[in-house]
Assembly symmetry: C2
Homo-oligomer: 476 residues x 2
């Protein structure tokens, strides 16, 4: 195994290629690899620099440099009178099996996954323009470690946007720029925990994994049911929580909007328990029948923390969002940002500010609203045809709706049958608070229609109808 360097020469180990970059680097790399792989064992003496230079036909200084590099890095050691020897390196390379290529997946008829905007419509040309403008507009000093709260420019722009489009009343100082809803939530929950809040109520059904994220922030998550008027505020009262996270404009996943009385009851609850309302304002921009219902933050900015992002309006690939919080929570959220990641990319922040200021963001939203409206209309027609009237709920806003299946239908069976036919969809059970699945709810499917074309919707709904035993395939 060990190469007898003194006699056999290094050709077994080192083969230099004169067309493949600097010879000294090649020499180092091959020696390093041989030592890592144990082809050169601890204690083995390397040939003298002169001898190896002769053997390889390179200058002696090339070999000297390579040996010195390996010496500095700890691969070899050198003793007066004893030459250069391979050092004893504990451990060594961890070999691993090469990754197995996944098998080709089945062709997808339609993917009704919740929460994905139309990726093909992402305004990439506008974004590229905005980044390019940002590289020119951003002062050099702002290219350093930035304010973890976010750029003053973007904080101004997003709060102005929230005031204008969402009827909020936050100012720039209330805003912390984050990498998206999830980061904003994690920072906010950690801050609430530091303010002595121990229990947070979550919607049931509601967005997934928020219970996990709450537990990571050392909060105790408890479920509160959602009915046709949104979150049940009486049950919230009974929960003992001092914080609640909800999706008031368009509940995820049921699609209901929190009613006006509930909105006021919620604010009253917060005042009564000295509590905090976390508003997940995730797709309110897309409302089809009229102007979106305003942000709860506007009703009581002292009790509401609004979390928004561009993941649904532009694309999740941008990773930018914001937290608008009462002043007492802002320093804590900023400190979380500072210690966790120092903030989001300054160039991207400036690009988003410019995109919003230039009117391109609004223009994109208007365009998307028409695209989603058309998909929604197709969805409504197809579902009524395949499943009968009155089955589709939560269509007033956003990019998903709830399809109530006939009583007695098994959600699980429909979901798995559809999957086998190339249609991806989730049942309502997928959104239940863990452990609450046993408390029965009528069977339903959550249909995200943001990233499916009109023809995919048509074919997908017919497939779902077949999966649910409704036939419908006879219709062309």
């Amino acid at each position: 195994m060990a190469v007898d360097w003194a006699r056999g020469g290094p050709d077994l180990l080192v083969a230099l290629d004169r067309g493949a970059g600097p010879l000294g680097i090649q020499l180092q790399d091959q020696l390093r690899t041989a030592i890592r792989d144990r082809r050169l064992g601890a204690g083995e003496r390397l040939p003298s620099t002169r001898r190896l230079a002769d053997l390889l036909g390179v200058s002696r200084s090339t070999v000297v440099d390579a040996y010195e590099q390996l010496l500095a890095e700890g691969y070899v050691e050198s003793t007066v009178g004893s030459g250069t020897r391979v050092a004893a390196i504990p451990g060594g390379l961890t070999l691993r099996a090469p990754g197995v290529a996944s098998s080709p997946s089945r062709p997808i008829v339609a993917d009704f996954e919740y929460g994905i905007p139309d990726l093909g419509s992402a305004p990439l040309t506008d974004w590229s323009w905005a980044v390019s403008e940002a590289t020119r507009a951003l002062p050099t000093a702002e290219l350093g470690d930035a304010d973890p709260a976010g750029s003053p420019h973007l904080r101004e722009v997003v709060t102005a946007y929230h005031r204008r489009v969402r009827s909020g009343c936050a100012v720039a100082e209330d805003a912390v720029v984050v990498s998206g809803f999830r980061q904003g939530l994690a920072f906010t929950l950690a801050t609430l925990a530091q303010h002595g809040i121990r229990r947070i109520a979550l919607e049931d059904p509601g967005p997934r994994e928020h219970d996990l994220i709450a537990r990571r922030a050392c909060l105790d998550p408890v479920p509160v049911p959602v009915d046709d008027g949104g979150l049940d505020v009486d049950r919230l009262h009974a929960s003992g929580a001092r914080a609640v996270l909800l999706t008031p404009a368009h509940q995820c996943p049921t699609g209901v909007a929190l009613g006006p009385t509930r909105r006021r009851d919620l604010i009253a609850w917060a005042d009564e328990v000295d509590g905090v309302i976390l508003e997940d304002d995730y797709d309110a921009e897309f409302r089809y029948d009229r102007q979106p219902v305003g942000s709860l933050q506007g009703l009581n900015p002292g009790r509401v923390i609004a979390l928004g992002s561009v993941s649904k309006t532009l694309t999740p690939a941008m990773r930018l969002g914001w937290v608008l919080a009462p002043p007492r929570f802002v320093p804590g959220i900023v400190e979380e940002q500072r210690l966790s990641s120092r903030g989001t990319p300054a160039l991207d922040q400036e690009a988003l500010a410019l995109l919003m200021e230039s009117g391109r963001y609004d223009r994109h939203l208007r365009r998307m609203r028409e695209i989603y409206r058309a998909r929604r209309d197709v969805l409504a027609v197809e579902v009524e045809h395949a499943f009968g009237p009155g089955r589709l709920h939560g269509l007033a806003a956003g990019c998903h709706a709830l399809l109530r299946l006939p009583d007695g239908t098994s959600e699980h069976t429909v979901v798995t049958t559809a999957a086998a036919m190339g249609v991806r969809v989730n049942g309502l059970a997928h959104y239940r608070f863990p452990g609450m699945e046993t408390e029965p709810r009528p069977p339903a499917l959550v249909l995200g229609f943001g990233n499916v074309s009109e023809s995919q919707i048509r074919e997908g709904i017919r497939t779902l109808a077949r999966s649910a035993g409704h036939g419908g395939s006879d219709r062309a």
Copy 2:
């Protein structure tokens, strides 16, 4: 206070401007603001839609729409026979004092702050090119919620870079893309805690706030001294830690490189305690006398987690970095990323991969190395002239050096005197492990020279010499 709507008309509250956007929106906004500000009190009756429309000279449907919007949002309520009344909203607007503009700061002679690259040289044109290419190159499907481990493309590219430039041996599957060193560290420490590691050794002196970040991950940070050979591995043995975080290529802040024997001793320590070495590989690319010392990760990939970023090589404004970890830790780090923030921007990741693949990244590094080399040479000359020979240490690599002050000099006095003269610099004490300041070390200043021009270095060093009582100002 309460406006008598029935008689006085709404002109006190609502003034529409026909040149300022949709009248219905103006009407809503003004009513909302009046309700928030309590100018319209709970229970007050709004005028009938017909009457208000007449008063304002707008169509009745404009007023109806506005009232319905306010109703949906909870600002007003409507009862049959009683018209529309302002709802009782608990709490209300939190008024706050406008921000006080900070006083103009003193002109800066030189800012020797540690760890900032030359911001004026950030390759913004290349970045703009790369983002634009990324918008074309990235498949539409990758614009959705991406793999929290990072894009496969960038994971390939950064590990190839680490193998080529840093003599590492990680493969794409070992890499997790993060938003920079700090996020990578937080995720890694959380993962180590889950693997049962309780105590982590940190360099003293060393980078700031790592003790805080360790505590946030529920680890117990302990200091281990750094001497002229780098981290004292004997003291590490005695610390009882099973993890260590260090800056082996160019120690922060002393500038020493971890010696070859220490490197092997460190690996042996890790094997002995079943431990983990966290390698903060933050500025090794800039080595002036020869090729950078290779990454420890290459010596023992089963025990070393290497953390890198582009914050020093490009700019902190990009917020991209990587963790290269043994396979057993990768899933934990990815899960941290997934639950904390879902990952870094897909477009930025693709842009960095393209920047590196295109050769523009290497070209930028070569250019910066020459700029930093020139600054370093000026620094060496100026310090020798002002403070005498042998006082500057740690200049072999990176963008900072240690200036040893004469014994008996007060670091604190020099730092504050210099600050009053417009020179920003930190003493070594700034980098001591909290609580260890009492264990004395010779006085020294940490001179970051990444973001100071040659003329600023000249003037700054002369100012420092004056601050330290060395005169030197008589030299022109």
